[in-house]
Amino acid sequence: MSHAVHGEIDLEVVRELVSHLTFSDHQEAQELILAALQEINEHFGWVSPEAAEIVADHLGTTVNRIYGLLTFYADFRTEPRGKHFMLLCHGMSCYVLGSQNLVQDLQDRYGIADGQTTADGELTVQVVNGCLGVCDRAPIVKLDDDFHGNLTPDSLNDAIQRAIAARRANGSPPHGNSSVRAG
């Protein structure tokens, strides 16, 4: 899963990641552009211009083409994430059980909408249009590595505050046990 390294992108790591993507001709190289960007996005939480340039050089294409992709596919980010990253499911189970209230509450309480990061750099939210596949616990979010289900605006806020407090307490990047907490 994501290593949630916010901010800096170690270009040596990027070179290492793309070096595994080998190809036998230019067609295959083009088929690997998205894969390369996905690996970088997964690893660092975003793709920087320098990282995009490494991909373009390795696969024989241009940075412009890379930005055409980064701005089309919703999973990519072109700015660093906050210290915590949250996927908020807005699929249909989540919608019919109130995810719109969660979206609204994030706006009211934290001032963030889809794709945005709080002013203090603590939290980035990405609203997922598909379905996270845990529909029986809707509405649900995945905050860092943990799922939180059956949410109300208040229980979501508690979950966010607990995650921030836990990170500050042990001073380490957030990571958890990937299980649904009650609220």
Binding site: L34, A35, R65, S93, G130, C135
Partner: protein, 577 residues
């Protein structure tokens, strides 16, 4: 994740002839029998993306720690989300018993026999110690499992488990016993229609693919599943990846394609990991590559993953995405079977379609056609969303009624929720109500009343959901996911959302309802691809089914569900739109 091509080839495992495959299969069968005849217990934990979210990995770890001499194995989710996390225990001389909703901290008690009240069912024909057969529970009773036959039973990471349960036997038949024409004839006789939404007969598509002259040719499996209303294809990947791979490889052989692809939605890491593992194992054993099992046939394979753009599920957009550009559909003709990936003939099928193929080949088209209804043969995977009691993924014969699905299989509404309607066809059709519960669910029956089978995802909503707001949600989805290539879709959908917002804020008029119908007509008639051509359908369906509710917003200034901010300050909405 790197491409499968980077996995080192281990030639030691490679099966290079028919006989070597037959020997491998019989060894796998023996291993499977030994597992279940063992003198010690076998503990299986259902681990899928759905149960991981509920702690299944910790339950698995606890079973390993405390299991003593038992064999502890990982299987996948069996579809019954409401039982998760579940643990199956097969004690010597007993049928396997499935225990439901096990927390990591309860494993000790479970293994020492103190949680017998959690026994949900036995995997056997008869009750045992008063525990009913799993198949007698309402959730399982109506099911007929072909695609899901092994899901929750085999370890998805084990090619031996899969082969013991029949994997690659149909592939073997296609490689050595059937001509391409005979194999396609079975698929045609089966009346296997596409499960990706449109219901196009797979046999006809394959025949065009086989006849296409340009080379090389390709086969691509569409596992994008970016709709907000369904979670079936990722579960097949998580539960029985070899079944999908076998279906693709069969299609490659009979269509004469030199390479198969699977394009998997990027949001499903476990599905991707398990499928990649299956491909690596199939390569290791020589089921992919050159001169497969000595047949003289070659098939290569590539896995590609999506980036969170719903439109990439559309056939031509998907192929552009594979080619490393923006996934924007193009006009047809030429169809993909004439010009697809790298302008070569490409046969594209949905995951579920291809996952049915091995059984069609093994048991014959006539057998498959005898299941379901005359025009919609076979079974269909269906998922549900909303406040239901026993939720999950099921496989039922085509023609099972909507009411059976909602009220029996999925257990009806949870306490505190009153049924209002059921959205069908995802973001591409309209809702149905309790008046439609007698309708058989198949490719055609729902369409006549404004619904749609689509990919088989149903969203049940209760009286807390406002029809106008729901219509906005569905239209906003299509607005956001429009690829922006053509004007009617790019500008028409935002216009609809704007009008809907006017109505939600209490500033709509009766004229707005007419305007929405007119705008919808433009979008439907003039859009380039399937997204735009059906984008207004959910809105039109909601307007028809809940006409009173729309009227009450614009005439009385009242939102009956109490959802819409009527009279509130018009703000820019933060929605995921």
């Amino acid at each position: 994740m790197a491409t499968a091509a980077s996995a080192p080839a281990n030639d030691a495992a490679r099966l290079s002839s028919r006989d070597e495959f037959v020997a491998f299969r019989s060894a796998a069968n023996d291993r499977w029998s030994r597992l279940w005849d063992a003198k010690s217990s076998v503990i299986s934990v259902g681990v899928g993306s759905c149960s991981i979210a509920k702690g299944a990995l910790q339950v698995l770890a606890e079973c390993r720690r405390l299991g003593g001499d038992a064999t502890v194995r990982q299987v996948a989710c069996n579809g019954a989300c409401f039982l998760e996390p579940w643990v199956e225990i097969k004690r010597p001389n007993e049928p396997p018993v499935i225990y439901s909703n096990i927390e990591p901290g309860e494993v000790q008690a479970l293994l020492t026999g103190q949680l017998e009240d959690r026994a949900a069912g036995v995997r056997a024909a008869d009750a045992h110690r008063g525990i009913p057969p799993l198949d007698s529970l309402p959730f399982f009773k109506h099911q007929q499992r072909i695609v899901l036959a092994n899901t929750g039973i085999i370890d998805p990471d084990s090619i031996e488990d899969a082969v013991a349960r029949g994997a690659y036997s149909a592939y073997f038949k296609v490689l050595f016993e059937l001509t391409a024409e005979e194999a396609i004839a079975e698929v045609t006789a089966a009346n296997l229609r596409g499960r990706g939404g449109a219901g196009f007969p797979a046999g006809i598509k394959w025949e065009s693919g086989r006849k296409a002259r340009a080379t090389p040719k390709f086969v691509v499996c569409n596992s994008h599943e970016g709709e907000p209303n369904v979670y079936k294809d990722r579960r097949i990947h998580e539960g029985d990846p070899h079944r999908i791979l076998e279906g693709i490889l069969i299609a490659c052989v009979v269509c004469g394609a030199e390479r198969g692809y699977n394009y998997i939605g990027g949001e499903y890491p476990l599905a991707i990991a398990r499928f990649r593992r299956a491909v690596a194992d199939a390569e290791r054993f020589g089921l992919i590559g050159k001169n497969i099992l000595g047949s003289g046939k070659d098939v290569a394979f590539r896995v590609r993953t999506g980036g969170g753009a719903y439109i990439c599920g559309e056939g031509s957009a998907l192929m552009y995405s594979i080619m490393g550009v923006r996934g924007q559909p193009r006009t047809k003709p030429p169809r993909s079977v004439e010009e697809g990936i790298w302008k070569r003939p490409t046969v594209a099928n949905n995951t579920e379609t291809l996952a049915n193929v091995p059984d069609v080949i093994l048991n014959g088209g006539a057998w498959y056609a005898s299941i379901g209804t005359p025009k919609s043969a076979g079974t269909k995977l269906m998922t549900v969303q909303g406040a239901l009691k026993t939720m999950g993924l099921v496989e039922v014969p085509m023609g099972t009624t909507l009411g059976t699905l909602v009220n029996e299989i999925w257990g009806g509404m949870r306490d505190g929720h009153r049924f209002k309607g059921i959205q069908t066809g995802g973001v591409s059709a309209g809702p149905l109500t309790a008046d439609h519960f007698d309708l058989p669910v198949d490719f055609d029956s729902l369409t006549d009343v404004g619904g749609m089978l689509g990919s088989g995802g149903f969203a049940v909503f209760d009286e807390s959901v406002c029809a106008v707001d729901y219509a906005r949600y569905l239209t906003a989805f299509n607005r956001y996911e429009s690829c922006s290539k053509c004007v009617p879709c790019r500008l028409g959908n935002p216009a609809l959302v704007e009008i809907l917002d006017r109505i939600r804020f209490g500033r709509g008029t009766m004229d707005d309802l007419v305007l929405m119908e007119r705008t919808s007509k433009h979008i439907i008639e003039l859009s380039l691809c399937g997204l735009g051509q059906v984008a207004p359908a959910p809105l039109l369906g909601m307007m028809k089914m809940y006409a009173d509710e729309f009227r009450s917003h614009v005439v009385d200034g009242v939102c009956p569900a109490g959802v819409c901010p009527i009279g509130g300050a018009e703000a820019v909405l933060a929605a995921g739109d």
